[in-house]
């Protein structure tokens, strides 16, 4: 039943959005001087240009494929995420940690019974889990070469655990998941502290002169991505165990 207050609210909401839209449009076509939001800034003016040319530390250094550079990850997005702006990603991990912790804390504890899995799922579960684990492993191992990285890898691995939960097999207990989560979290930050003691500033990459392109390039990036993958996997599967009934 549509009482008149909600109709009024709808109209007001529509009006507000309409005005905001017109405003944005008027800002977009504004003819005043200075950089407008519509025109793209020349690439060289952007911060990203230094990330692409990997010459943040000294301006005119160039790098070759297979040669070395200040950050040897092939996938530049990963170099930005895990090397240049590593602190953001560590905070990202904390955001996930907090929200899942809050999730577990707030959700009411009436666990539901898992219905018996169908035979097909029963048969294929181990194979599927194996496949998922392999793909997950692949994505975070060469996160610095190809697209992907810690976060998607963690999600894929957690789906493996999910299939385990769906088929009712006890793959891993919630207690150990929490331990994994804590350990990976602490190790991420302890690496940061180690790098502080080694190189004087936090989260600095202390493994140098490996070559762009090969598997173990990119300094600390694979290590970080690995830890992030396991942490995300542990956290997400934590959610499933909230609903899992022994």
């Amino acid at each position: 039943m549509k009482d008149e207050t909600s109709v009024l609210v709808n109209i007001i909401a529509f009006l507000i959005l309409f005005v905001i839209g017109i405003y944005i449009y008027s800002v977009a076509i504004d003819t005043g001087a200075g950089i407008k939001i519509t025109d793209n800034i020349t690439p060289t003016m952007r911060v990203a240009d230094k990330y692409l040319n990997k010459n943040v530390l000294d301006d005119n250094s160039t790098y070759q494929w297979g040669g070395t550079a200040e950050d040897t990850a092939a996938n530049i997005v990963t170099s930005v995420v895990v090397d240049y702006r590593l602190f953001d990603t560590t905070l990202e991990v904390i955001v996930l940690f907090i929200t899942i912790l809050g999730f577990g804390f707030v959700i009411p504890k009436d666990k539901r019974k898992i219905i018996k899995p169908t035979t097909i799922l029963n048969r294929w579960a181990p194979i599927l889990m194996l496949l998922m684990l392999m793909i997950g492993g692949y994505t975070f191992i060469n996160g610095h070469l190809s697209p992907g990285g810690g976060f998607p890898a963690g999600a894929i691995i957690s789906t493996a655990i999910l299939t385990g939960v769906l088929t009712g097999r006890r793959t891993i207990s919630q207690k150990s998941l929490k331990i994994i989560e804590a350990i990976t979290g602490i190790s991420i930050f302890s690496i940061g502290i180690i790098s502080y003691f080694l190189t004087g500033s936090f989260f600095q990459n202390f493994i140098l002169n490996d070559k762009i392109g090969d598997l173990f390039s990119g300094g600390l990036i694979p290590i970080f991505y690995g830890l992030i993958a396991f942490k995300v996997a542990a956290e997400l599967s934590n959610i499933y165990f909230e609903f899992y009934e022994e």
């Binding site: 005005v19 905001i20 405003y23």
Partner: protein, 624 residues
Amino acid sequence: MVEILLVPLITAFISDIFIKNKRLVWFLFLISNGYILYKLYSLYGKWDLTYILNTDYQIFGAKLSLGLSNNPLGWYFAFFSAVVTLVIAIFSIGFNTNSKGNVAPIWMLIIFANLGIFYAADWITFFMMWELMGWTSFFAITNGNTKALDGAKYYLALSLLGGSSMLIAILLLGAYTKTFIIITSAYRLIQLFNLAEGVFTTILLLFIMAFFIKSAIFPFYMWPSKVYAVGPEDYIAFMSSVMIKYGIYPMAIFIVPVIGNLQLPKIFNAGNWMQYFIGYLGALSAVVGTLLAMFQTDMKKLFAYSSVANMGYILLGFASMSIVGFEGSLFHVVNHIVLKAAIFLSLAAVVYRTGESEMHKLGGLVYKMPITFLTFLFGIIAAAGIPPLNGFGSKWMIIQALMEKKMVVLVISMVFASTGAFMYLFRALVSIFLGQLPERYKDVKEVPYTMSIPMIIMMGLMLLIGVVPGVVMKPLTIALDALGYKVDIATWTTLSSSFKNATIDLKIVFYMFAMGIVVAALMYLFGNKSETIPQHDNYTAGENPIEWGVDADKFNYSYSFYQPFKEMFDPLFERISIDRFFSSIGKNFEYISPTIQGLYKRGEGAVLLFSIGVLLFILGGWIL
């Protein structure tokens, strides 16, 4: 100079610690008041004493410095209020032996603020003391009993409003005249007049609003009746006599000199429009105060409105802007302090013994409490301005000044108010002390010595000032002379005004009155002897009214004393009532607030209001 302020502060702190045992606390209170009086006496004449405290707090670019200065007018106000406070302090030792709350620490803080106000050299110190006095008096009035709350809340709201309007005025003054010192800011304000007249009038009106709120002048005349009825009686004696003068002091030291020498066109060659503005407000508060006082049934409310009327007289004196009128109102300030304190002390004694403050429930107390009756009688005579006592001198000077300046309407309203004053004052005397003594007060005794001695002192003070006005006029004229006014030092007993041979010698008036009494006493003794018989066996022809099932005090005609007179004014008071106007403002706020709480209680419109906020920002961009 600064130790006069430190002593009350320290005593306030100490008595706050020992608040439990009353005897010590009130004794400390008396001693510190005595010390203050002695110190003030020793400060007489040393007008150049100052004490400056420099803080490096920057306001308008300059570093702020707070200062105290022994200015003559401030000394005059402080000395006479200290005299009366000392007497009240003696009274309140006895009064507070068995009272519930203990108001001494807060009262000490108020006395600290009181001295601060009178001695402040610059506006910021003045404002700081003013606000301190504002909220401390709130706590003193309520002092723990909750039924005093809404009266005190009303007073608090008004005094905070006054404080804020004064803050705006001070800051505007500071911004435009680049100084906070009171005296120099007065001179520069006058020069400012021809530069920015709009700012000048706003500053002046805001100042006047703040002072009128504190001194209960016309638009804000309602709070005394609400507050005096509920506060602790001995504190109310202090509040009604001394604290109501806080508005008058800055008027005398700042507003009157500024308005006095403004080059404004004179209306009916008597004064500029501001003088008339103050004059008419004074006249209105005198007339309205008197009329409302007549119709009250609670004795403290009655005298609250009488304070309003007296403040009106003082304002009329200021409005005349002649030196005689100025002296008259300052003289009336001291007279009012003395007589109001005397009246409220006797009321406090009545309440101390009977616990009742509704006039028609009292009666016939004169036989049980003769000293209280005499103080009250002297207070009545002084309040009505009848010659032998101190009320007459100042009223006479104010009327002379107004007549000389041909401000006819003001004089007529003043005389109307003073004769009306006689009506309600006598009504109070009749209903409380004369007439039949009700049964329940049969065993009422006179108040103990510690309370009757201050009352006798007050009687003596009133008589002394009445007969020898020089006691007050001499220091006053010396102070005004020190301030730079062209004034001749008053003699001991004569008061003079600027009319042709209009000087009256109060000593002779007293002699004449004494001789009249001697002649009348002779006539009285000449007659045959008379025997006293109880009151209620006269018009009831010997029968005792109790047999008719009616006890004696039913015959006490004092409930609606001026009933016919009241009916004349009722239609007028029904339509316009400033009181309803102000309390309706308060009610509106309290009416809106649940709707706002409702908005925050459910909180589901959060995102909607968020986007409305964004909309506001966008629209602002286009419209403003």
